[in-house]
Point group: C2
Chain length 161, copies 2
Amino acid sequence: MLLKTDTMADNKYEEVKKIFTAFLEKKELRKTPERYAILEEIYSKNGHFDVDSLYVSMKNKNYHVSRATVYNTLDLLVECDLVNKHQFGKNLAMYEKSYGFRQHDHLICLECNKVLEFCDPRVQNIQNLVGEMYQFQIVHHSLNLYGQCLKENCPDRPKKS
Amino acid sequence: MLLKTDTMADNKYEEVKKIFTAFLEKKELRKTPERYAILEEIYSKNGHFDVDSLYVSMKNKNYHVSRATVYNTLDLLVECDLVNKHQFGKNLAMYEKSYGFRQHDHLICLECNKVLEFCDPRVQNIQNLVGEMYQFQIVHHSLNLYGQCLKENCPDRPKKS
DNA sequence: CTCGGTGCAAAGCTTTTGCATCCGC
DNA sequence: GCGGATGCAAAAGCTTTGCACCGAG
């Protein structure tokens, strides 16, 4: 096991590795080194990322995986619920690790594209109620609030719109 | 004024036309026939649509506008709040007319891609509370619930996943 | 050894952009 | 007539696909 500054992330990786392995075995998929490397890279990062930044950061660490493999593996990780996929109003999928993190929703600044997280238990209530009313089995939800953060919270404001 | 079967839609169009005109004048933009034709087409339709289906349906009525103009005009209509833009989990922007329709959120069937609408006043409460807590001026939100509708509600189930 | 997975590049799709032409003002 | 808007096509950007090769089981 490699030495890392973020031991917390390492612990999480050991846990999710087991979950991923169980998932791969259940679906009779192969346990390739690329799949584990991608999972490890994701759990060593914080915050949201897109496919290309993940691809580039792995390449920079001299661990090369093709974009196709990154896409393929992310689909698997989303399926086994170790990663969440989001669309923050752009045609660019954003991802984040999800295991061991509290369910949350997002607040997106239209000025600087910053993404904050918040929790409100009422979202779950709405989900339950609506699912019952419409006879839907709700699997997941996505609540994004879009707006402008005030100057003090938005230091990097004059960026690309 | 053309004779149409859906006079309700026509009435709405007359109202939104005025709003759009005021918006164009305020922003000193030109009142081109293409812009009004696109607005009229949108308000004559029901439900959600993507850019291409709007483009094609206008072409089929022998009113040709370029895709670039459709994109440009949709941006304006979103800006003046006559049209809402959505992302239902795919990399394809979906739109719907919004004037005179109640604020609502969406329930998306992962099996048949059907989109239902629902209202829950608590969403507004969450929006207000979170905006205050994080010192955000929230402009709009997007709440999508994803799941499976039960068979009886999902007749067209065996479609493209 | 087999067949699923990977890597690479090409293709696919939606959206954006550049530029000549057109027309609202 | 001026300058913004349109139309067309090319380009851009993200994602998917096809195919040869590799390696997990």
